[in-house]
Subunit: 319 residues, 2 copies
């Protein structure tokens, strides 16, 4: 794929000059304009993307499987992927799946048919053993906590996330602590439950299955969490809400449920989205954009790597 820098180099002019020619800016000499136009024509002819594909067996297209385009978590990851893709001359093909297995299969099928050079899986329902069968056709990179020599992966340590958040709430005096998830069968739901149970055991606290609230991803899902929580006896005095969107909704709607935060229920979120700062939500920062960049790097890399990223607890006013 030819970009403006390539054209500048080929024409022997500055990037600014190329940009001016493309934009019909008046202050460009005729000589330079001709050089740039010639470079455009030559590269268009010589480097026709499709011809390049056939000769190299490469498409420079990377598939991105992600469940939702309108959730800030995935939007931040996608920004990282996209900026890095631009820098590396890669096209992104988006597969927003809404967790529909068939949509995920479309991407895997295209990988198999060499219509994609690689696939980034931001979240999935397809089982791991199925993905393993497709690695022979091209690299598959996972945004999940996975030590594997089949896949590269980019992740934060969800055990660490849960331990930091739960111990912080414990230190603040809480003993009835609940948490939210999106999917019971989600990729990290098991490690989260195990970490939660280990935390309880460590502090000799009882397990209460109703303290895990599922189906919580979007802002409005907080109403369901609040509805369930208000019926519990004893009700949790603190919640680890694993999506700042839901935590934000929880703060916004709590008043209507007669719940004062943090006095009656402390809240710690996850991701550190802009809304978290606005609402002074205590949360855990996840470097989503940097992780997106790493996903794109990994899908282009000949080496498989499992890359952990650091997290940071951000103390604000909801605990």
């Amino acid at each position: 794929m030819t970009n403006i820098k390539d054209l500048a180099k080929r024409a022997g002019v500055s990037v600014t000059t190329v940009s001016r020619v493309l934009n019909h800016h008046p202050y460009v000499s005729e000589a330079k304009r001709i050089k740039v136009e010639r470079a455009i024509d030559e590269t268009g002819y010589l480097q026709n993307m499709n011809a390049v594909h056939l000769s190299k067996g490469k498409t420079n297209v990377i598939g991105v499987i992600l469940p939702f385009l309108d959730h800030p978590y995935f939007a931040q990851v996608l920004i990282g992927i996209s900026e890095k893709a631009q820098a590396k001359g890669q096209t992104l093909m988006l597969f927003p799946t809404n967790y529909d297995a068939e949509k995920e299969q479309e991407a895997l099928l295209m990988l198999r048919q060499k219509q994609l050079d690689g696939v980034i899986v931001c979240s999935r329902v397809t089982p791991l053993h199925v993905l393993e069968d497709y690695v022979q056709y091209g690299p598959i990179v996972l945004l999940e906590q996975r030590k594997s020599d089949q896949f590269s992966s980019v992740f934060v340590d969800h055990q660490d996330v849960f331990n930091q958040a739960l111990e912080y709430l414990y230190q603040k005096g809480h003993r009835n602590i609940g948490y939210t998830i999106y999917r019971r069968n989600g990729t990290h739901s098991k490690v989260r439950e195990e970490t939660y149970r280990a935390f309880l055991a460590r502090h000799d606290l009882p397990f209460n299955k109703d303290y895990c609230f599922d189906g919580a991803l979007y802002l409005e899902d907080s109403i369901d969490v609040l509805t369930k929580l208000m019926k519990l006896e004893p009700s949790p005095t603190a919640l680890l809400i694993t999506s700042d969107q839901v935590a934000a909704g929880f703060l916004i709607h709590a008043k209507a449920f007669g719940l004062t935060i943090p006095e009656e229920c402390a809240v710690i979120g996850l991701n550190d989205e802009p809304i978290a700062k606005a609402l002074k939500l205590t949360t855990i920062h996840i470097p989503l954009k940097a992780m997106g960049e790493a996903l794109l790097d990994q899908v282009l890399s000949p080496h498989r790597e499992n890359r952990p990223f650091d997290i940071t607890l951000i103390e604000r006013q909801t605990v």
Copy 2:
């Protein structure tokens, strides 16, 4: 591009069967599995995307120019574009520009070099006369209020948006009404200012240049709006905030500025994003997803069309 439906048709089996084969589901007969595998191999060989491109002179890749991936307005539009692209077997190449003209030029350059079949422009800094020069290379569709025989366009009537919102505030007794925009030189800023001035003239109200607040797009931009507003004398008693994100931030941060809403300042937003419902924000609904679908339809259509979409004022509790 081969999809699961094509494979099912070619193999003479159901879509479910293809899906099961791809997913290694046990309940598939050996005969059917072989049929599907054969269809996959055949289509992979015969319909190799790149070979198809060269023969048809088409890439089935559509460029999408949009300033930001992490703003709910553009995310909703992109969902519509993306769902329709999947249904029509089109690949999307994303150009998140942050309003950098060079990034927009990369997309136009790729259109010129036949690396894209068409370009959807969700928002831009490149002047219209420059875009007009690129229409010869392929369709360019604009998400903006534009009657043009050069471009297809998809839009809402921004004059109508402003008139409905301003007259509604006037009916509610407001006489000092301000409004926010993102860019002073933005595509719709001029029509908005003209509509605002016409509204003032119609009701014999004075124009106050400080009542237009710019730089307002993200939630946190509301702090700047609040800071400026609190210094004004007389201060507006109502604001039309042309982004629900900023309106949400305004509601959240108002208390810290000692401002009661709607008593001391009424607020009407724009877009009807999920946060608007949560915060009971009065706003104007824009059918962004449907407009995204229309953008993709138009870029594939041989006919140029300028398609207006309807708006709806949603009364909640901030006016």
